[in-house]
């Protein structure tokens, strides 16, 4: 498995896209921190990148990569190797390369310019989002038969998580404004990894705004060690669940 992961990573690096992506992220992060006098604002700009660009790149690149190495996967399947090894080496190879790209591109500058708890939360949240989107891309790839369809599904998931979902939550909140929705909105935020990561970072940044009456509900939950722990576990579940279902389908799939 180690050997196949090595080949996958080697293949991705040879492609040069990931290197370009790393450099772009690095350039963006450093310029955000340099041009904004207040590291807080730099972190906020980075948060926007993490919530929009990074999921998009992760999900599209992973899908394309899966289909580009389809022949390689077929070749490996002909060898005495289990489907599990093939699937997970592909997944872990991608996670490793995109994760490293994120850690070098965003994590390094963030920890240098703002190595506090909020910086750390941002980096951890961003990393988990990257992994989640890779996992979702794999699921999208195994349930479809051709590349275009897979990219379509991946894009739809990205669109749903990043844009549609919040709009729907807003709609529900507007229509149910007469009911106590504090607890419900906690649940809503748990059902979307983007929201979860965003709120975790906001809790470190905008504490004073969130301390209103409703804010206090979130504050109590997301600021307690227990709440932070649960949030990270939920984010991890968002990685594990799609990977697991993807594997279930892949192991029975007629390649």
């Amino acid at each position: 498995m180690k050997k196949t992961i090595k080949y996958v990573v080697y293949d991705i690096i040879r492609n040069r896209f990931v290197i370009g992506y790393t450099l772009l992220l690095l350039l963006l992060s450093v310029s955000f921190f340099w041009f904004e006098a207040d590291p807080n604002k730099g972190l906020l700009s980075l948060l926007n990148i993490i919530l929009m660009v990074i999921p998009l790149v992760s999900v599209i690149f992973s899908t394309i990569h899966f289909y580009n190495s389809y022949e390689f996967i077929e070749l490996l399947s002909a060898q005495p190797m289990s489907r599990r090894t093939i699937y997970f080496s592909q997944f872990l190879g991608l996670c490793f390369s995109l994760g490293m790209a994120f850690l070098i591109g965003v994590g390094l500058p963030t920890l240098i310019f703002d190595g506090s708890m909020r910086g750390l939360t941002l980096v951890l949240g961003g990393l988990l989002i990257t992994l989640t989107l890779v996992a979702i891309a794999f699921l999208a790839s195994v349930i479809t038969k051709d590349k275009a369809k897979a990219i379509g599904v991946a894009l739809a998931v990205w669109f749903y998580l990043c844009i549609l979902y919040d709009g729907m939550v807003l709609m529900v909140l507007v229509n149910m404004a007469d009911y106590p929705m504090e607890k419900a909105s906690l649940v809503f935020s748990a059902l979307n990894p983007m929201d979860l990561a965003r709120i975790l970072v906001l809790m470190q940044l905008d504490v004073s705004a969130l301390m209103g009456i409703t804010g206090a509900v979130f504050q109590n939950f997301f600021s307690s060690t227990w709440g932070v722990f649960i949030s990270f576990v939920l984010l991890l579940l968002w990685v594990i669940t799609p990977v697991f279902f993807g594997y279930r389908i892949f192991s029975k799939k007629d390649l």
Binding site: V169, V174, F188, R198, A209, M211, G212
Partner: protein, 414 residues
């Protein structure tokens, strides 16, 4: 020449008749208080004195040498000043008891003038210094530290009721209900005080006209500072820091009129300034930074002039609850402003509406807070900027500054 000579003689005679009383025990102290003549000096030596309800009924100078401790053992209060021209300094007042009938205090001043309380320490006192119907008093350089319990069972650090021309300088107040409390106090000055960790307000102000407070620091108080039902207040060079909580404000202004709020720093408060029923206020040269809401103007405020302030790194710069307002915003710096300045006069060419759609939305549905800084929220704000429909149309800055206004540096001694 002759008048001068007589004046000199008078001074000489004064000092000749004044007596110094040195006191080392409680009976001696009681005796001195009884037998002394007006304008005598009582020197209290270092030691621990268990005393209760000592009345000062004539002009006296009370000096504690090397900080003698006056202990009321939670049974009552310590000094009750009922005469003018009394000076009390160098003592440490501890353990003043708590009742609901009488406001027991470390030093209580009743209907007296020219009383000076300085360089004392008040530890575990129900009320620290309590002034009632007294004028021209000075409270300076005191350290007042209480142990907070419930709001009902904790007194105020410095409490003044129906006074005039009071000066409160360089005091440190911690752990009381209100750090400094003013009710019906006029023409007074509050300067250089640090009020922190009080369970309610750092400074509480009611019906106190023509007062000035400058160079004070109010930090981490339960609900910040409240100024209510007052006209002609001047607030200058103060620092309002880290007042966090569901109902915490840097300053809460309720029914204030004709007042100046100038060159203050509001940092990391849930709401920097909360204005309700305020008229004709001048707010200028203030810095609002890292607050949840910089300035909250309720719709019942009018004719307020808000100009040359800097709004930086606040989650929301301005929030309001109505749609029509009659307040003027000019020449402020908003770090969220995205306009341009083609004629290079330092002012943006397009106006700025500081109330975002999202903050209006939160006004109606606080739960929507979970969408803070999400793409949806940003998108809504952008659309609203282009076609305003929900945000108050006339709450706008016509000449926003392109660069932060030059505001002279803050200089706080902490």
């Amino acid at each position: 020449m002759k008048t001068l000579f007589i004046f000199f003689l008078l001074i000489l005679s004064q000092s000749a008749f004044c007596k110094n009383w040195s006191v080392k025990t409680v009976p001696e102290l009681q005796k001195a208080l009884l037998e002394s003549k007006a304008n005598d000096t009582i020197l209290v030596a270092k030691g621990n004195y268990k005393v209760l309800n000592l009345e000062i009924t004539k002009p006296l100078v009370m000096i504690g040498q090397n900080q003698p401790v006056l202990d009321a053992q939670y049974k009552g209060e310590i000094f009750i000043v009922k005469s003018g021209d009394v000076s009390i300094s160098g003592f440490k007042f501890i353990n003043v008891g708590e009742t609901s009938m009488i406001d027991w205090a470390g030093v209580k001043i009743l209907e007296s003038e020219n009383v000076k309380i300085f360089k004392n320490e008040f530890i575990n006192c129900y009320f620290g210094v309590y002034l009632s119907a007294s004028n021209k008093c000075l409270i300076e350089n005191n350290r007042i530290i209480g142990t907070p319990k419930e709001e009902q069972t904790t007194g105020n650090g410095i409490h003044a009721w129906k006074c005039d021309s009071i000066n409160i300088f360089n005091n440190y107040v911690e752990g009381h209900r209100d750090g400094i409390y003013f009710e019906f106090v006029t023409n007074s000055l509050i300067t250089n005080n640090l009020s922190t960790k009080n369970i309610r307000y750092g400074l509480h102000f009611m019906f106190s006209h023509y007062d000035t407070y400058t160079h004070n620091i109010f930090k981490k108080n339960g609900a910040g500072v409240a100024v209510m039902y007052t006209k002609h207040v001047t607030m200058k060079d103060n620092f309002f820091d880290s007042n966090w909580g569901g109902s915490a404000y840097g300053i809460l202004l309720k029914d204030i009129s004709d007042s100046d709020i100038e060159h203050n720093l509001f940092n990391s408060n849930t709401v920097g300034v909360y204005m309700e029923g305020c008229s004709r206020l001048k707010m200028q040269d203030n810095v609002f930074q890292k607050n949840g809401v910089g300035l909250r103007i309720q719709a019942n405020c009018d004719e307020n002039n808000i100009h040359h302030n800097n709004f930086m790194a606040n989650t929301f710069d301005i929030a309001t609850n109505g749609s029509v307002t009659f307040n003027y915003l000019n020449d402020n710096y908003w770090d969220k402003y995205e306009g341009y300045d083609l004629d290079h006069d330092g002012k943006g060419d397009i106006l700025y509406r500081p109330v975002s759609l999202f903050s209006t939305l939160i006004e109606r549905m606080p739960q929507a807070m979970i969408l803070l800084r999400s793409f949806t929220a940003t998108l809504l704000d952008k659309i609203e900027k282009i076609i305003p429909s929900l945000t108050p149309e006339n709450l706008k800055d016509d000449s926003p500054s392109m660069k932060p206004n030059a505001i002279k540096a803050f200089n706080f001694k902490v």
